[in-house]
Amino acid sequence: MNLAAPAIALQTAALLLLAPLVSGFVRTAKARLQNRRGPPVWQPYLDLGKFLRKDMVISEHASWVFSVAPYVVFVTAVLAGLLVPMVTVQAPLSLFGGALALVGLLALGRFFLALGGLDPASAFGGMGSSREMTIAAVAEPALMLAIFTVAIAAGSTDLSRIAAASLGPTWSWLNPRQVLAFAALFIVLLAETGRIPVDNPATHLELTMIHEAMLLEYSGRHLAFMEWGASLKQLVLMTLLVNVFFPYGLAPAATPGALAFGLAAYLAKVLVVAGIVVVVETTNAKLRLFRVPDLLSAAFVLAALALFSTFLFQQAS
Amino acid sequence: MTSMHLLTLLLAVPAAAGLACLPLRSRRAMAGLNVLAFGVTLALGLGLLRRVLAGGPVTEGGGFLRADALSAWMVLLIAIVSLATALDAGRYFQRDLAAGVITPGRLREFFVLTPLFAAGMFLVVLADSLGVMWAAVEATALSSVLLVALYNRRTSLEGAWKYVMLGGLGLALALLGTVFIYAAACKNNPLPFPSFNWSHLMTVAPQLDPRLVRLAFVFALVGYGTKAGLAPMHTWLPDAHSEAPSPTSAMLSGVSLKIALYALLRFHILSSACLGAGFSRQLVLALGLLSLFLAAPFILVQDNLKRMLAYSSLEHIGVICVGIGLGTPLTIFGALLHMGYHALTKPVLFFAAGNLHQSYHTLEFRGIGHGVMVTLPVTALGLGLGAVAAAGLPPFGLFFSELTVIGGGIAAGQIAVSVLLLAALIACFGGLLLQLTRILPGQPKVARAHDGRAWDGVPAMGLLLGGLLLFSVWLPPPVLAVLHQAADIIGGRP
């Protein structure tokens, strides 16, 4: 497991480029399902570009935390992405951490995000932070339990090894463990990326928004990095989902052909997952905040079931 | 020359001092005389210790007086506590006189009776004949009654009355026990007057009639137990202790309880030698535990400082009895040690309580209120340290002695007893802590000026606390030796 600089560079680039695209895709597809034309798929790029160029207004109450947060959110998201195998089995940074580190990095981003929301003393930021942290807290056990399940199966928290294990001869994607864990992780994905039915990314209605409430005071490049970070996080979680459970086409070695095939497969899988998200978003209404924990506890139960099935099928080593 | 008539002198010096106070007028002179006398007795006690260690039991007056290791130990305790009391009494009564609480006549009463009281206690531990020992205990009771009643308040009279009635009754029963023992001695003994000496009885113990000895021990237990304040015969204890002037309370709680216990011990040893240890041991153990568990709740909800201290004495008597009752060398050793440490601790608490009483004119916790630490720092320090010691916390010795008893109990497989003991001790600790937190810390309601009493009672308290601390971390070899010998005597291992 050597640190291949090119691999890192490539995957970073891929993440940065794909993330807005995926968000754009989701937004457009959703519009189409609702019989609206919707913005073009590349709209997010344009937004980012505009944000970066714009002047900034920073609240007079804000402190350094407010200004540091966007960069931290952005960088942690990218770092997290580098821990996940994307195109190749071998994630470029897997030596530096596995699933646990990934969760930790995302949590760090969230920590700054929430503080950034509190910093300007606005009436909404606190609301957003409080809700964000609550939902994250309730989502965490399900997430961790699901990860544990697959990690136990693979005997490692290293995502590359997990992927490899699922590729390997022992793998069967109909294994109840995998199915249940996938379902659990999918719900967590919805919660973590602020999707309906947990949060509505499109709304700016004060009382219902969560993520947006924290961004309310951000403008200019800060806002850009915040948005970008969010979409990166979403992409990372999707990647995690697809490559852990359906590692088809992950390139075992860095040969051009394998890479090309891997990339194609990867795009396909991500689009599928995005599609599912779109369907969920369009077919569901947003839940009341205090209903969300029920949903997430359902995820927890699923993960627990996955664990028990592991217990049933796997013998002690 | 002194080494020849050590025991006689031990009795004579305090008695003489007491009588010599009769004609005196000045408080200073009387106090000084007392201090002097008790200083001498302390020296004598040390001498006695040395001789006992050197040559075993000492006898005098044709076997009328006899001192073995156990007696020597008790003598030491009596001497130390009396000395401290005399040191404290002088300035204590100075305040009372100034406040007009007592008359000079009563004052003389105190300085005359206290040495006699002490002399009586010396006689208890030095007399060889059980009969004389009984008479001596009675004498201590009688000499202390008037001390308890010294203030001549309604309550103090009541306390004294209960003390003398219950004590007198108890002693009558104890006398009956003594009679039974003597009867056992007389039985199938050709002489018209067989020796009534404990030492002699021990030699013939195996031949004594077990039924008589049994009966005798029961009566002695109830009788002397009453005087020693064992539950449920303890009821006079809080009344007398709280009503007596503090120096007397110190004497009562510091030694006189243990003296009665000593008398009981002699019977215990005898009956163990005759009946085997089981019988008397279990009775003592049971009463000890009862005392412990009775003491805890009373300490917790007590409203009066000195009454609370009295109940704490009950607790410690309980510990000692449990130690004796467990009956292994370790626990007996622990119990004897506990006697010593408690004798050094309790007077300090009573002296401090006396200061409080004189400055606040009440002993009710409510009346005293918060902030004694602020008003009377030195007294508060004494009270605090004494309480820490009495609660059985290190570095003070009571912690060690209690640990020894508990540990000995567990090592002997008496787990249940040890657990009960520990539980009761913890409860008492909690009570003591809670109660003293009511008065020591905090901000005083009314700011009292230091009326020059800041350093009151420092000599006495200092002497005792210093000794306690010293002997907690360092037991001089002779003391250790005498303790072990005494433990052997009680354990029936000559």
């Binding site: 609240s59 960069y71 942690t76 932070s129 409080s130 942290m133 | -």
Partner: protein, 682 residues
């Protein structure tokens, strides 16, 4: 090397003694007391730190087996210490924290000048450090218990230092009574061992469990668990902890949270692995469950607090829980015979012990600085301090990140190790028990996330936004010594976070001693830059690597900024107030409001009581003014402790009827006793 560390140890102890004496000498001279006492404490702690580090670095090898401090004064106690690795590791903890807190006190204590006895405070402080160190080093039961009790006493004095407050006195008493209960359990437990070994020496206790009958063995374990648990404040024995920590002066709170409650971890490790050994499975399970429960409930109650120091106190309960998870897993592995995993879990627990000591002390010192500057602990009155006390804010922030187990700081590392050991525990046993591992792992995740939420609240409400009160508005930065101390601990957080393998090497002798395996070779890869979970296949992490990588990634956003946003300007402006002019602090979220969603989610546990009073003019839709209040009370308080307290008092009061005051009654008692005894005797 070895005798060097012994000399230094001796110097440390002497330093504390000297400090105590100087404190007493300085009863009248406050300045002397302050500098003398805390100066000695600082030096002593420094010596202790060096001594323990050198000793551990030497692998605990070559240390004298036993050192007689004083001649055996009385037949009970041998005043002898034995610096074995476990003891040295905890000495390291106490010295490190002691060092920081002593330095802090230079700046903190002067606020007491003229108001109370600084000398007494310094003396008690030194005694506390001394006895705590001796607890870790004691060589026999009696010495241990003596040190233990004096420690409790010293901390009682320190806790009730500001004794004119009713609540402070109550807290002190509660602490002392609970602690004494614990001591009772310990005494019984130790005497059970004593009975088996026949001597009080800890050498004789080694693996004594094997020679004990099952009954006493299990009894001893439970007694120790209860006794140490009381000191550690594991739920439901924690009741004293949230009361005592806020009551104490802040440097004392730091010492308690950092050191005092760690003595119990030492005790459990010592007893569980060194003395009893060969644990049956249920021991480990019990500890694991206790730990999990304490962790989750601790953090949940912490979230409900808006008293800064009470909040931190509850976090101590949580972290003790996390530590116990590690120890419990270790016990289970010891049972199933996986020494490597056992030492991994042990390392996780011990590492977290050190980490928690560091960041919790840091947080308490920060809180102390805040309280010192604003004279309030109530979050609702704070806010905006990041501008007024920037350094304190930054250090507190560091502590918050660390305690929330976020990379790259130390909290993350130890929790990562804990996760690893729990994860690998699954494979160690075929029995259903193995489900305990991942489930407690999930609970650990919940704990971590909640802790993060709680510290977003703690830091955000305290330091960010606008000041919610005059006190906060007028706050000034803390005195230099206080900042130095916090800086020291913050640096420790970073170092322990970025270079774990360095410390893990110091832990080798400990695991060698307790589990028989030195671990660091298996834990560090790539020349100590990467941390691995015992089996490299199990997963690796490198906080240092992540930080460096982040450093490499930072050019991306900066580059974008340079490319696109060159012309963009930055302007300061008011916060968006929905067009209604005048944004007041009262419009921002309060601490209570922040934790409301959680309170709702866990309603079943909290059973919040809320009262709302409205006053209308004419229509219920236009309330004139509205009074809302909501409080959460601990279920243990209301369901267990209060009834118990009531019962005790009730019974005691009724007992008093015995002493009714009538002579006749007393005579009857004697008479009855006599009759009963006569019946027995005949």
């Amino acid at each position: 090397m070895d005798n060097l560390s012994i000399v230094l140890l001796a110097l440390a102890l002497l330093g504390y003694v000297a400090g105590a004496l100087l404190g007493l000498l300085g009863l009248r001279a406050e300045r002397l007391a302050n500098y003398g006492a805390f100066g000695c404490a600082t030096l002593g702690a420094l010596c202790g730190l060096i001594a323990s580090v050198t000793g551990l670095a030497a692998g605990g090898a070559g240390l004298p087996h036993q050192v007689q401090l004083l001649p055996a004064f009385n037949p009970f106690a041998q005043f002898s210490i034995r610096p074995d690795p476990l003891g040295l590791f905890f000495t390291l903890i106490v010295s490190l924290i002691g060092l920081a807190v002593s330095v802090y006190s230079f700046g903190y204590v002067p606020s007491f000048y003229g108001r109370r006895s600084v000398g007494g405070f310094g003396a008690a402080f030194n005694v506390a450090l001394l006895t705590t160190t001796l607890v870790f080093l004691a060589d026999n039961v009696f010495f241990f218990l003596v040190a233990w009790e004096i420690m409790a006493l010293a901390f009682y004095l320190l806790v009730s230092f500001e004794h004119e407050k009713e609540e402070v006195r109550g807290a002190g008493v509660l602490y002392f009574v609970m602690s004494h209960l614990g001591t009772g359990c310990l005494i019984l437990g130790f005497f059970l061992l004593y009975r088996a070994s026949g001597a009080g020496g800890f050498d004789g206790f080694h693996a004594i469990g094997a020679r004990m009958a099952t009954g006493p063995r299990h009894a001893a374990f439970l007694l120790f668990l209860a006794g140490f648990g009381l000191k550690a404040g594991v739920i439901p024995l924690h009741i004293w902890l949230p009361a005592a920590h806020p009551a104490a002066p802040s440097n004392v709170s730091a010492l308690m949270s950092g050191v005092l409650i760690k003595t119990s971890i030492y005790g459990i490790a010592r007893v569980g692995f060194d003395f009893l050994g060969a644990p049956p499975n249920w021991w480990g399970v019990t500890v694991l469950v206790v730990g999990t429960v304490s962790a989750v409930l601790g953090v949940l109650y912490a979230l409900m607090e808006h008293d800064l120091k009470r909040l931190l106190a509850y976090h101590s309960i949580e972290n003790i829980g996390i530590i116990l998870m590690g120890l419990g897993a270790a016990l289970m592995f010891a049972h199933t015979g996986h020494p490597v995993l056992a030492s991994l879990a042990l390392v996780a627990g011990l590492y977290h012990t050190l980490n928690h000591a560091v960041f919790k002390a840091l947080l308490f010192l920060g809180a102390g600085a805040v309280v010192h500057a604003t004279h309030t602990r109530n979050l609702e009155d704070l806010g905006g301090l990041v501008k007024r006390m920037p350094a304190t804010a930054f250090f507190f922030f560091t502590g918050a990140v660390a305690i929330s187990a976020l990379p790259p700081l130390n909290g993350f590392v130890s929790e990562w190790l804990t996760y690893q050991s729990l994860l690998q525990g699954f494979g160690t046993t075929p029995s259903l028990i193995r489900l305990a591992f991942p489930l407690s792992g999930a609970m650990l995740a919940l704990t971590g996330a909640l802790a993060a939420a709680c510290f977003v609240k703690a830091f955000g409400i305290t330091f960010l936004g606008q000041p919610r009160g005059a006190a906060a508005a007028g706050a000034r930065e803390a005195a230099p010594p206080m900042l130095v101390a916090q800086g020291l601990l913050a640096a420790a957080c970073v170092v322990l976070g970025l270079f774990p393998p360095l410390l893990l090497r110091l832990l080798d002798p400990v695991t060698q001693q307790l589990a028989g395996v030195p671990l660091s070779p298996r834990l560090s890869l790539a020349g100590g830059l990467v941390l691995s979970g015992a089996a490299p296949a199990g997963g690796t992490v490198s906080t240092l690597g992540l930080v460096l990588m982040a450093g490499c990634l930072l050019p991306v956003p900066l580059g974008l900024w340079l490319v696109f946003g060159r012309g963009a300007t930055v302007r300061r402006g008011p916060t968006w107030d929905c067009g209604l002019p005048g944004l007041t602090p009262r419009m921002a979220y309060t601490a209570t409001g922040f934790s409301k969603p959680i309170r709702m989610v866990f309603k079943a546990l909290f059973q919040p009581r809320r009262e709302v009073q409205r006053e209308y003019d004419f229509s219920p839709y236009f309330a004139k003014n509205l009074r809302f209040e909501s409080h959460v009370e601990e279920v243990f308080q209301t369901r267990i402790y209060r009834p118990l307290h009531w019962l005790v008092w009730r019974v005691s009061r009724q007992m008093r009827a015995v002493q009714a005051g009538s002579l006749q009654a007393y005579l009857i008692y004697i008479f009855a006793t006599l009759l009963v005894l006569l019946v027995i005797a005949l």
